[in-house]
């Protein structure tokens, strides 16, 4: 039994998370503290939210950190995950070409922004990969009567960085999380145009994969990470994490 537990301890903790947390460098900053404190070795698999949840559902990872509240709740309700906690948030912004053909500059209303893009038939690049960002974008389109049209609406099917690059090359608009935007801003001929709409709020949740469905998962490790990342130390590190001199994520204060 002792041998067995020590073997379980040595197994890596598998975290499926989104490209937005990994590419920004947040995980690389945070996880060494957790690893030093608990002795777990964390393997980060960075994919879109849709794929991350799928990895959790199939029991291929132990814990998921994603940003799509609706999908997260469904994930828990379906019994795939337990112990969901809100971790932090940042926000989505609209970026687009400097000459701004659809006239989005200084708009606050995200749905109105999409309306103008549609009305002027300005090129819009969608993630198109079922990621958290893509889910958010689709939920905004659903509020519009106007349908997107392939003549000016293109799905990249790739990560946020790639999608921003494509938008830059094609002088197009896109919806991005602020973190990835800050990383790429300098290299892109694009400008931040719409921000501050409450609908563009982007909360991240962490969920342990249900050990009842998948008895093999490293559930102890998952709980340790969830406890740590929502602890004062975790929150402090999240708050202190800066990209290009700017804070990127705000920890969410939970009551429980």
């Amino acid at each position: 039994m002792w041998l067995f537990t020590s073997f379980v301890q040595a197994a890596p903790l598998r975290l499926a998370t989104t490209t937005s947390t990994d590419n920004s460098g947040l995980m690389r900053e945070l996880l060494p503290y957790f690893e030093a404190k608990t002795g777990y070795k964390v393997h980060v698999i960075a994919v879109g939210t849709g794929q991350a949840l799928r990895l959790g559902r199939d029991g291929n990872v132990d814990v998921v950190l994603v940003h799509a509240p609706k999908a997260e709740l469904q994930f828990v309700e379906a019994g795939y995950g337990i112990n969901r906690r809100q971790v932090m948030s940042n926000d989505f912004v609209f970026v687009g070409p400097k000459h701004d053909p659809a006239g989005l500059r200084r708009l606050r209303d995200s749905v109105q922004a999409l309306q103008r893009i549609a009305a002027t038939q300005s090129l819009f690049i969608s993630r198109g990969d079922d990621s958290g960002t893509h889910k958010k974008e689709r939920s905004l389109w659903e509020k519009l009567s106007q349908k997107s049209d392939p003549a000016w609406y293109r799905e990249a099917g790739q990560g946020m960085g790639r999608t921003l690059q494509i938008a830059g090359e094609l002088d197009a608009y896109t919806l991005t999380d602020r973190g990835t935007w800050l990383v790429f801003r300098k290299r892109l001929p694009l400008e931040l145009l719409v921000e501050g709409d409450p609908r563009l709020h982007n909360p991240y949740g962490i969920i342990a994969v249900n050990p009842k469905r998948h008895p093999h998962v490293n559930h102890q490790g998952a709980l340790a990470l969830i406890d740590w990342i929502t602890s004062d130390e975790g929150k402090h590190l999240i708050r202190e994490f800066k990209l290009e001199g700017r804070p990127l994520f705000v920890p969410i204060e939970t009551t429980d």
């Binding site: 598998r14 590419n23 393997h43 698999i45 960085g161 290299r187």
Partner: protein, 233 residues
């Protein structure tokens, strides 16, 4: 953006200063692909020999199957293996998805048909008398087989190098079953894909240079051994 020249310069600098992260990635690539080729070669060559020297029903069919597997897309192998190794798949209990072992298996599958097809071609071109002479002199079949393999050794080395070239440079299967985990399953090609997606071209170019250098080296060796092969024939 610094342009191609500036990026390449920075990339060279990164390589020469011995950036540890970069060399870990290179190490993963070599360790995985070398294991794959070493495990595959003996089995594939014996099968190639059997196909070339034994006449049995289905021989030709099997050969054409391997020939068509030469061009199987790496992502298809990746997807297939992903479904097999996933927790929901038949081999889920092995806990192999997102490990180096899974990458080795994927690359073994990718280089196996190459070794069989090229090995078979080499052995068929070999002088049948090597086999007959060895057998007449009383050598057991396995020893006679080694004699044949030795006769065409340069062509076989060419086959092995070609197989290695395919797997060290493939990205689709490694990405899918390896998961591109930093310091663990991130190899040269998946790192290039990731760095490019992040817009960090310097590290991508540095790793690309390593791969390019390797390609030149492999081609040089290929040319060398093909030349040797001609001398024998």
């Amino acid at each position: 953006m610094d342009g191609l020249l500036g990026t390449t310069q920075q990339a060279l600098q990164l390589l020469l200063t011995g950036n540890p992260e970069l060399w870990t990635i290179v190490g993963v690539s070599f360790s995985v692909s070398l294991k794959a080729i070493i495990f595959t070669t003996p089995v594939a060559l014996v099968l190639a020999f059997v196909l070339a020297y034994l006449d049995f029903p289905g021989n030709r069919l099997l050969l054409s199957v391997f020939n068509s597997l030469l061009s199987v897309p790496t992502v298809v192998v990746g997807l297939l293996l992903y479904l097999l190794l996933s927790r929901q798949g038949p081999f889920g209990d092995l806990k192999l998805l997102f490990t180096q072992t899974a990458m080795v298996v994927a690359q073994m599958i990718l280089c196996f048909p190459i070794l069989v097809a090229l090995g078979h071609a080499a052995m068929q071109a070999a002088d049948q008398r090597a086999w007959e002479t060895a057998r007449t002199l009383g050598a057991p079949p396995w020893y006679a087989m080694l004699t044949v393999l030795y006769e065409v050794r340069f062509a076989l080395i060419t086959a092995v190098l070609t197989g290695f070239g395919r797997i060290i440079s493939e990205v689709g299967a490694s990405m899918m079953v390896g998961g591109n985990i930093m310091g663990f399953t991130r190899n040269i090609t998946t790192a290039i894909a990731l760095e490019t997606s992040k817009g960090e071209f310097v590290q991508g170019v540095a790793l690309g240079l390593v791969l390019l250098l390797l390609a030149f080296l492999l081609n040089f060796l290929l040319g060398y051994f093909q030349g040797k092969g001609k001398l024998i024939a």
